[in-house]
């Protein structure tokens, strides 16, 4: 078994299930804001969207430790197996947190955990960008410019993810209103507006994830 190829395959699969699964989520969201559908149908589509959307969420978190393992194997990243193990544990715990948030959606605990997750993302973005700056200047923790650029793009995708979360908040509020008071022009507009505000961030994720993949695939020829 060639371990480098194995981890590369896992890295590829995280990208596949991240960007590919997003397609269904994006299209389904358009149906939820269609007022011609009954509330029950819209709710079921929202539930379906919520389930499928979990896959890109897990993949976004999983892609980092897997990528870090690849950088360890190619001698381009930190050469500490202990650090790698700690990072894996942190990210597995984080994935479990995201899973719990999904299960507790709508409850007080779910809201609190979602807030913790959001703060964790802010910390993660800052750490990633700081490590990229250090790497540009000192060639540590990442030794290669292409890898640093890839991580910068990756951190932009997380920023876009935070953007979606913020712009999508009114959507969920409007949907709750829809469930209580039924469809009104105000509620429908609020949902559509919120969805439209999220679109640039969704496209941003696709573009930056695509650029990160592009750098990963073409670095041998480009750099």
């Amino acid at each position: 078994m060639d371990w480098y190829s194995f981890w590369l395959l896992i890295h590829l699969l995280t990208f596949v299930y991240w960007v590919g699964a997003d397609l269904g989520v994006f299209y389904s969201a358009r149906l939820i804001v269609n007022p011609n559908y009954s509330f029950e149908t819209r709710l079921q589509i929202l539930k379906m969207l919520g389930w499928v959307d979990m896959i890109p969420r897990y993949m976004l978190l999983l892609t980092f430790p897997v990528g870090l393992t690849l950088s360890y194997l190619t001698n381009l990243g930190p050469q500490s197996i202990e650090l790698l193990l700690i990072i894996f544990i942190i990210f597995i715990l984080w994935i479990l947190l995201v899973l719990k948030i999904h299960k507790e959606e709508g409850s007080l605990l779910g809201t609190k955990l979602a807030k913790i997750d959001l703060y964790l993302r802010f910390i993660f973005i800052i750490l990633l960008l700081l490590s990229c700056m250090c790497s540009f200047i000192m060639k540590y923790p990442f030794k290669s410019d292409w890898l640093v650029l890839k991580i910068v793009f990756f951190s932009f995708t997380i920023i876009c993810g935070v953007g979606i979360r913020i712009t999508f908040k009114p959507f969920m509020e409007a949907f709750m209103e829809l469930s209580k008071n039924g469809s009104t022009n105000n509620v429908e507009d609020k949902m559509k507006r919120s969805l439209n505000h999220a679109v640039p961030f969704v496209i941003g994720i696709w573009v930056f994830a695509g650029l990160a993949a592009f750098i990963g695939l073409s670095h041998e020829r480009l750099f």
Partner: protein, 223 residues
């Protein structure tokens, strides 16, 4: 410098993204189609989502072969054939036409003709990858390494799985039509579930085939 080989490589990866990644939404959506708690309106909305997302795996299914061939050309394979190798696109262009016709004209006479042509195309391709490519390999007509041969065979396996999906799912559409016309009955729900259960092993086999196809492409065993 970005060269054509990078373009094909990225294209090849994106095909996998929109095949394997998009299939998750289709697979989960189909589980909601057979959920008798969902109303007919909800199930029709889910059909709409599945039909849209399923375009991507359908197109990816066609493109993966000629794009893979272009990648191999860039690696120095098929030099014996010269410029004629670009003719590989021609049958796939027709196949695209047949698949598009069979989907958009579904339920009509012309749709049946397109579906027949699509089936014929798949049979020809399976015969080509197992008989034609084996002939070229074992008689040393053109240079094909083991990993390339394995990829051809796996592609054939994936095509067989897609046949399995099609035939085990063939009862689904008429039963679903009955559901729309007559409403839910235990018999109809049972038939829908049976159809879905029959398709599951084929879908999972296809996914495994695609993952193996990627692994072989990444690790290139024997080189």
């Amino acid at each position: 410098m970005v060269d054509i080989q990078i373009f094909w490589l990225i294209f090849h990866v994106l095909i996998l993204v929109y095949w394997l990644g998009a299939d998750i939404s289709v697979f989960y959506g189909s589980s909601q189609l057979t959920n008798n708690k969902n109303s007919i309106e909800t199930r029709l909305a889910i059909i709409k989502i599945i039909s849209f997302v399923n375009w991507f795996p359908n197109i990816a299914n066609i493109l993966i072969f000629p794009v893979g061939i272009m990648l191999l050309v860039g690696l120095g394979y098929f030099s014996e054939v010269g410029e004629l190798i670009y003719l590989v696109w021609v049958p796939f262009f027709f196949w695209f036409f047949f698949i598009t016709g069979s989907i958009t004209q579904r339920g009509t006479y012309i749709g049946k003709v397109y579906s027949y042509l699509d089936t014929s195309m798949r049979i020809i391709l399976i015969c080509f990858v197992y008989l034609g490519v084996s002939f070229l390999y074992f008689l040393d007509v053109i240079l094909i390494e083991e990993w390339v041969l394995l990829k051809f065979y796996l592609y054939g396996f994936i095509l067989i799985c897609s046949f399995g999906i099609r035939y085990s799912y063939s009862d689904f559409t008429p039963t679903f039509k009955k559901l729309i016309e007559n409403g839910s009955t235990p018999e109809i729900e049972k038939k829908l579930n049976l159809s879905r259960n029959k398709v599951k092993p084929w879908v999972i086999s296809l996914w495994i085939g695609l993952v193996l196809l990627s692994y072989i492409g990444i690790s290139k065993p024997g080189i």
